[in-house]
Symmetry: C2
């Protein structure tokens, strides 16, 4: 089975945008607030809306996508905390409906109702609701301020109440910023990659996994700049007298394969231990075109992984399926219940 | 000749720190302001202070280092614009003295008296003074706010008066942030790398080099995350209908080799055109230890470049010397004047 752990719902129905407009218009004129959270979208419309993703699954040969709301759409910095709560709920409910309608194609991951300056513990109610609905993980935004980075680093105790719940509920978190309201940071080209790099460095600085030995973070987009600068990070950690990464971070931190060219994937699989790499494509996502050098979609990352030499069959199983089952234990249980147990490796 | 284009004066005399303390103490109590810019440091002390750098040059086989004040020390966000001006002048004067005392080892690059919210044109007087003193380039901080990114992106006309002078004076700029006062960003582990990535993406978004066809930027630390995500950047630019990079950026944007492991340097030299890569080590800098996997210093980047296969002799000449002469025309002229003309390639 080929599991793509990083897909966003970027083909949403217009009704969702209309709801969002009403939410934000309501800030200026309360009469414009949405009066219902029922978007009036039929099951048929939802199924139709994800045909692009299903087409890519079929053409590219992946089976199951871990599916979450559009990352840029979370926009935790916009509006108020109440708006973030309602918006998260509506966005997550759509994901839940799609994954219920198409369980062979999609498994749900949720967004959290974060807000700049608001305690992460305010997200726990939605987190628990997501678990009840069968979600297998969440996206956690390290910068709810949308490019101004005004909340504490992720190793700060500020985040601990949420981590306690993530651990207790066996929910991993993908560390994923949202859109940027800072004109310096293009969202998919700078803010996303910087978010990944920034949090990995925070984790080096702290000792978070001493306090939470079973907390699991996925750092998307191949870990930002980290694998390219693996020597730098090893060296900085060594200068700081931190333990080697296998002890300090690598039981808890994982990287996806959203790197859109073969040399990048070759580097990733060369420097990062195979047990820490999870297949993903971010489709339909940040880059939508076809690479004229290869004739294939930039984000058809399976093609790059398939081309990497020096990967054993076991390595490939881990990248495409086994590691995802380990990092997302609720996914593994769900698949087992469906009669699709993983291999023992 | 092996030219290392990225070395900082990180072995400064105590007198410089004492001056800085007085400057900042003067904010709280004006009587503590420094009364002189004469640090009282002898030539002998200066020569002694850079022996670590000279030892590395000898041991590692580089000849000449393009030498600038400590990047983290610029700290443009601290104090006032007047303080930044005085601090830049004192810091640059030390570099000038060292390069005058040891012209075979060091060539000067300066810091600019930037300040958050202050127009970059306020740096022109110091820039002109640097040219008169024989400096061959400057470090330009894309985020004078030190991790809060409150000034306009580098493609904004805000920066144009400075660019006009850089072009007129044939001075290239290394895009280099300074220390971070944002607790989210470790300075050498996150802020530096993010700064590189951020500015490259800004340059994709804009059309800066249409307005300044001869402006030259060096993006240090191997270009941040950019080479690892080369496919992502090519794809994003393509989605934006921008010209291909060879037209859009690569006549003006260059990357150094401050990447501290062989797989990173292999990737860099594979995806970035050789004409756009300049040898550098950042010594004595961000990472000071020895890699237990290799037995060599992490930042001995010459060892990695030497190990890359598939580089012709011409390629190596370009990386180690030729490209530096092209990007830093004042360096080339200086060397010619000393009877060390470059090769025609």
């Amino acid at each position: 089975m080929i599991i793509d752990i990083h897909g966003h719902y970027t083909t949403e129905p217009q009704a969702l945008f209309a709801f969002r407009d009403k939410q934000l218009a309501g800030l200026a004129e309360p009469a414009r607030k949405p009066t219902t959270t029922d978007l009036g979208v039929s099951d048929e419309e939802l199924i139709k809306s994800v045909q692009p993703q299903i087409k890519f699954q079929t053409e590219r040969g992946s089976d199951l996508t871990i599916f979450s709301p559009r990352a840029g759409g979370m926009a935790h910095h916009v509006g108020t905390e109440e708006i973030s709560k309602a918006w998260s709920r509506v966005s997550n409910d759509l994901i839940h409906r799609i994954c219920t309608l198409l369980p062979e194609n999609f498994v749900p991951v949720g967004q959290l109702p974060q807000f700049p300056g608001a305690s992460p513990k305010n997200c726990i109610a939605e987190l628990e609701r997501l678990v009840d609905l069968g979600f297998v993980g969440v996206n956690l935004n390290p910068d709810p301020a949308g490019g101004y980075w005004t909340d504490p680093p992720m190793i700060d105790k500020w985040w601990y109440p949420l981590y306690e719940n993530l651990v207790e509920l066996e929910m991993p978190a993908m560390i994923h910023v949202s859109s940027s309201c800072n004109p310096n940071f293009h969202h998919t080209g700078a803010h996303y990659i910087n978010g990944d790099t920034t949090v990995f460095m925070q984790l080096i600085q702290g000792n978070l996994f001493k306090d939470f030995p079973t907390l699991r973070f996925v750092i998307p987009h191949g870990g930002g700049a980290v694998p390219f600068h693996w020597g730098r990070y090893r060296g900085i950690a060594q200068d700081m007298k931190k333990p080697v990464f296998s002890e300090h971070l690598l039981k808890n931190v994982f990287f996806d394969t959203c790197v859109y060219h073969l040399p990048g994937i070759e580097l990733l699989t060369k420097v990062i231990p195979i047990d820490n790499i999870l297949f993903a494509s971010e489709m339909v996502g940040a880059v939508r075109g076809i690479d004229p050098n290869t004739g294939h979609y930039y984000d058809d990352t399976k093609k790059y992984v398939d081309q990497v030499k020096n990967l054993s069959e076991t390595d490939r199983y881990k990248i495409f399926e086994g590691n995802a089952r380990r990092v997302y234990p609720r996914l593994d249980k769900l698949l087992e219940k469906r009669g699709k147990a993983g291999e023992k490796v």
